[in-house]
Amino acid sequence: MPVTLELEHIAKMFPGTTALDGVSVRWEGGKIHALIGRNGAGKSTLVNILTGALAPTRGTIRLNGLPIVFRSPADARKAGIAAVHQELSLIPELSVAENIFLGRLPRRNGMIPCRVDWHRTNEQAEALLSRLQVRIDHTARAGSLPVAQQQLVEIAKAMADDPSVLLLDEPTSALAKQETDHVFSLLRVLAQRGVLLMYITHRLQEIARIADTVTALRDGTFVPTIPVAEASPETIVSMMFGQNIRFSRVVDHPASGIPILQVNALGRRGAFQDAAFTLYAGEILGVAGLLGSGRTSLLRAIAGADTPDTGTVVLDGTVLSVFSPEAMKQHGIVLTPENRKEEGLVQSLSVRANMCLASLERTAVHGMTTRLRERSVVAKIIRELDIAVPDPEAAVSSLSGGNQQKVVLGKWLNTRPRVMLFDEPTRGIDLKAKLQIFQLINRLSAQGIASIVVSSELEELMDICHRILVMKAGRITGTLDPTQSTLDELFGRCMQ
């Protein structure tokens, strides 16, 4: 009798949004069930509910037919539900065996309390790894292993308690294609042992290789589960996006034909190679690609955040030889980074100070700043970007994600940029702010300011860009005109 996991009308409301709107499904053990969906479709919420990190607003979870209620992640583990998350959580300085049994290392009885039984730790780790047919030295330092092997250790760690359900949240997102084979063979071993596997992925081409069934989440509801044999790439895309995708292109004018920025054979070892393209004044150029395709590294190199190993960046016919954010800012090339909290803003400073951070010299006179002058500059940008901030002296950390992103943009507008690089400009922000940011990019474009936009949200690129570059495994593999192509095409080009 295989394990069964049933969800009955599971719903999760957050203030203002419905993350899950009554989803029901029945999954069986011994199989690998793929779960797909766009960012924000509710996948993480579902994982969090199944692992006891969140309580559902409504609905019942049944494990082997019996309803279960989790009050904490520990409850879920006890019930036999384990999860492997997207980010690696191993402690690099500890051995594989220590990582596997972290927090529950076997103890020795005797005079000394809490004395670790290293012999048993190693023995049990070795036994576990060989049971799972994973060939990794259990005494190796976790940090010394390649990422793919670390991911295997993560899975082994999750399996240490012999759970009957294993949830995998994009376990291969950081791996190259050939490295995924090891993970897949481990998953097959687990499926043979009767474990119920739920596998979340963005890489649609993996589904046919590994999954038995496909379920899609779309706007908080399930699209009915189908066996993988019936899932053609077209079916999968329509499951994720729905049949009637309507685009509303924000960008309302063509780019000019005046080249402004030329990137020649740019490369950074281990990140991307041979990037070459020309950007025109007022053009909005999209870069599409999967996580790890080198899209972020490309932007960072152009902005001087990282130094490239090869190639040149030419602005208006002048070769830019110094790669530092400071030098690039002088030339008018600026970057709004992917992680606005860590890289875009100084959380301990006020909204005003953050907005003036990149333009200190411009707003100051002889190196002296005055609150008055800064306030007038900041007030103008707050109006222009419609930032909801009661007081520019408020801590920037008190703003919502969308407003924080606008502060980052405002910081750069103050520097009179010529080329703006946006890395995931709409990640984690609400729809209204998203649209406003697109409209801003459009307005800048009309003024002749060129933009490069990296986004995981491909339909956003379709809406905002004049032209889209496709990146794969560190290389630019093609160009696409969003007015002449469909989302499916772009999706296919990124995935294949």
């Binding site: 955040a305 954010p325 100084v346 190196g367 002296m368 801590a395």
Partner: protein, 329 residues
Amino acid sequence: MTIPTAFRHSFLELVLLVLCVLLAFIAPGFFTAANALNVLRNVSMQGIIALGMTAVIIAGEIDLSVGSAVAFAGCWTAYITGLLTGPGFGLPAGLAVPVAIVLAAATGCALGGCAGILRTRFGVPSFISTLALMTGLSGAAELITNGFPLTPFPGWYNVIGGGYLLGVPVPALVFVAVFAAMHLVMNNTTFGRAVYAVGGNAEASRLSGIDVRRIKVTVLALTSTFAAMAGIMQSSEIMSGTATTAKGWELDVIAAVIIGGTSLAGGAGTIRGTMVGVIFLGVIINGMTLLNVNEYWQHIVRGALILGAVLINRMQSPRDGADASRERR
């Protein structure tokens, strides 16, 4: 500004005021102009260093070498003065002393700059490099003095550390001048803003086009220079270069900065707060001395004060650590 906010913003000042009123009643001789100047004079040398240390800590670094740097600068000044006025050079004291002072200050500046370069180019934490400097400079001071005080100074040299101008001790005047300058720098210059930004988030600052390395090197060099200045004044006050002076000053200085509300995590703090912290410590010690409190008790009270001040800062901003700064830039 509502009254509760004003109260919260000036909490430490209020406590200081209450303390002074209390001491005026119970401590004989506390509430006199002479004693006030005395307090100011006693805190001024550590205070100058604390003002620099505030910038260092806001920038996310630390300088443990300042105590040894004071002793070394005094000995170094005395050594150079002795050398230049001695048989080899035979310069008049009027020329030798200024040269020695400039050289000692320059040496301090260079040493701090080295710690900064080690930090920014080679990734050596300032805690480590200044710890090494603390030990090394202490040894160097002993070495050049051979373990005995050097006394090459002419009589007028005493003015710098022990003299008065219009009835105010010279070191106190220097302290007030440095306070005014640092207050201006940290609040009203692009450099000061960059110090806060670098300490708050170095990577975001770098990506905003701020030269993080230059900022860190500069604050460390500045503080070392202040320590050298304090060392020169100290040697003038005691009219000798003595290797054993200023032991443990680094901790007193850091304590004053912390009491003043600066966060050890970097990114938050004020020069005004440090001024209050310095005077607070000075008043407490002065009051306890006037009340004939045992010196050992004084140490315990000072320890309690550091803890208490940080606790109060924390409790005023339960939401996040960043709010611990009493004024937002």
